[in-house]
Symmetry: C3
Subunit: 355 residues, 3 copies
């Protein structure tokens, strides 16, 4: 299945963002993760939990009318109850004994705004491979805003990942949101290490509408600047892109990082089905930390840009489903990073297949 | 196909409720019955009729713009007309002669509020096998209200039947509608006779919110009572369940049946497709016969309860269609009646298959 | 696939109406033509153009955010640009060179209100086979109104063509729009010549509601008249039907053609998918040319009649998709022309298949 070699397109042994912290505040929710129904909930003591979303008794969805009882979840149809840590059936209300049965439970970890889930082999789940708060830009000195969620985008996750690996699209798809032409000519430096991928694109650019958006028009500089756009792939479920990482401004001795600081756009991408995905966005930054007006401008701007990507991905997927997958693909230089990612993903997929 | 052994899940040689009396009042209606399009109409002399729903000329649906002419139905596209009793083509407006053609017509019988249809082999249709008004609770001394219709529930009919055969679900799925916990511990006495199945569950119970609903709070009793919940399966298309059939009240010499009378909930279930069904509900009772306020409370209450069942069935079916049919099923003691029904249904299905 | 012998139901080497002149006024539009996505646009110099609707780079639909640049169309995702006459890739914004690639472009011709497209082998496209303005009734002395568009009717194109070849349906399907019973008894004279088909049905008829509609009630005649209904099939994509072509009126020496002139109803039918089509309607006439009130009555009347046909076609298709294609078809004398058309279409389809 496009763009991969075989029908299997999921990397299963990976951490994905399953939901955000506030989504489980009001009770259990169901979400399809890698083509399986999963129920997420918070135990009475506050721990994030995830188990197979259907009751093994009558296949009723546990998130519908399901009630949290301690660490356990009680089905809303006949009251069968399962422990969220072990999966054991702990109660059948119409009888004294319980059958010996283990519901599938998933490794989960709550970190920062995200509740991560490991849909693959539980014995391989290692929380150390989840990107740390510091490295992605949630740590000390960073401020982050509310998540921007798109649950169930009707497009395969690879389309969204490859969108992010070729940012020349910002000059066209997002052309109405700012002047992004500088990216078109920027060289591309790609490094690949331990299943992570970094794309650095250094740019010479003057003040643009996008500079105004993220640094504030009152901080306008004259003349040129040196900056970079950096895209980092932390794994199949997580990518960050940056605003202008500004290293030099013409006529200034140093870049004042309280003004021209760093901004990360977070992209948590989780396969829903082979042809759809969830997309959790967020921005974090090291500058203008107390600027509420900026916060209020930034989140709608960010959401509008992401919505354009979502619309593009859904348009492409919709046409693939109607007309078939591409038989030609006219790849050019700017696709180098996306092509490298595709090979990396293919390798991760292949490594999971039985030989 | 779940929960049956093979792809064939319909019992065809059976009477099903096809529509209710008032549905054909305004003209022909189309309804899918056992995966076939059927047009129901009332002849000019008032007889209920059913025939194949598509005109054999150009496959136009006869219920769209179709006009009743005597016993016949005239197609709204080119005016071809077919007799509802024999199926004969009786008129082609653009020519003097008529082709020799017989449209498929179905055995139908109107009884009480229901228009029954026999979708199987017409030579086997025996109206004596339709449950009589007296036995289901429509006869002398019974009052019934308006039908509660759910046309085209997106769930296979077996899900709705099995829902009714295990009433422990009322304590959870309908838990917000009353206090139904007594059913959880009630023993289950099942009798099977001539393809009918009866489940009696005797209960000791005090006054509950559900007693208040059906008997009226002004008739509250103190202390306990002996009662039973009775479920009767009359065939694949018809099940009744009861309110509290109250046989003894603590501290009273006899149960006053004008107050604590019997109430039947009727469940006519008709397959639409292998994955969907029609559900016609109704309540009938022997007490509070002239109590209009009770009528006005009862029908919305009844409809709300049934809607919860419909929602459950659709949730289960929707998940089956997305994620596949259950591979495990954790059956317990309270599933005994449903399991027996499943075997009975399987036998009826198998008996109709060519050997 | 019904009503044809094989799965292939499209005649590809034919001219079809792809869109109307005003549809491309505001920028590129996408339309599915014979199961392919096509983008139609007008070049900066005003020429109608059509090319494959997806960018070969990332399969993004060119009509979404696409921008016309001279004769070329620029993709709204990454800015790749293709020439509308040759299909050549003429620009990739992120690099100096362009890859050698030819996007599929379609032969198109704008004539009168229609933009025609040839979806078949371009080397066979001959604009001389498009019916001329004079022969269909758009030429000197004819007035035509605004197009009546139905884009993406959920019914195969053959259903709409066969609807038009048996006009006895007007007495029933359109029975509420006028008194059309005269057509039921009219003889049918069919001529077939060079893949065109003409059906003439002479009628004796008095003044009817439909006469009133098209000739005006102030021009009522008493007694009978001689007239004809003429249906002309110009090819798989174009059919005309007529109002009463009135040749004699009882008690009048001659028919005043400024009053009782000719009226053509145009039916441009273009397959969208094997089970859906586009339907572009229009009326043209030689009488009451300056009568604005008539124009304002006529277009809604015409649209309402066509909507009834569309509804019929969609009802038939919907039932076929749900219940399967017809296994019997009760054809009678009035189906002679439709049956002849079906054989003609089958021959055209078969001729395009490899032997």
């Amino acid at each position: 299945m496009y763009p991969f070699r075989n029908d299997e397109t999921f990397v299963r042994n990976a951490w994905y963002v399953g939901c955000t912290h506030e989504e489980v505040a009001a009770g259990p929710i169901e979400r399809t993760i890698l083509d399986k129904p999963v129920v997420f909930y918070r135990s009475e003591s506050g721990a994030a939990m995830a188990m197979h979303g259907l009751c093994p008794h009558r296949a009723y969805p546990l998130a519908l009318k399901g009630q949290v009882k301690g660490d356990s979840l009680q089905c809303g149809y006949h009251g069968f109850t399962f422990d969220g840590r072990t999966g054991s059936c702990v109660r059948v209300p119409s009888q004294a004994s319980v059958p010996s049965y283990k519901q599938r439970v998933y490794p989960v970890l709550e970190r920062g705004p995200w509740i991560w889930i490991w849909p693959g082999d539980p014995s391989l789940a290692d929380v150390a491979t989840i990107p740390s708060l510091d490295e992605v830009g949630f740590g000390q000195g960073w401020k982050y805003l509310e998540p921007i969620k798109f649950s169930g985008i009707k497009g395969r996750y690879s389309l969204l990942m490859e969108n992010l690996l070729d940012l020349t699209h910002v000059a066209y798809l997002h052309g109405d949101m700012g002047d992004f032409d500088a990216i078109l000519q920027a060289p591309m430096r790609i490094t690949e290490k331990e299943d992570r991928l970094t794309v650095v694109r250094p740019m010479q650019t003057g003040w643009t509408r996008f500079h105004a958006s993220i640094f504030g028009d009152e901080n306008r500089f004259e003349g040129g600047s040196e900056s970079a756009s950096i895209t980092t792939f932390y794994g199949p479920g997580y990518i960050t892109t940056t605003g202008y990482i500004t290293s030099a401004i013409e006529g200034k001795e140093a870049v004042d990082k309280t003004i021209y600081g760093d901004m990360h756009f977070h992209h948590a991408i989780t396969p829903e089905t082979p042809r759809s995905c969830h997309y959790f966005g967020m921005s974090s930054r090291t500058h203008r930390l107390a600027d509420k007006a900026f916060d209020e401008m930034l989140n709608p701007f960010d959401a509008a840009v992401r919505k354009q990507d979502v619309d593009a991905v859904e348009a492409i997927e919709g046409h693939m489903n109607q007309f078939g997958e591409p038989v030609v693909e006219l790849l050019v230089n700017s696709d180098t990073a996306a092509a490298k990612l595709r090979r990396l993903m293919q390798r991760l997929i292949d490594n999971e297949q039985p030989r």
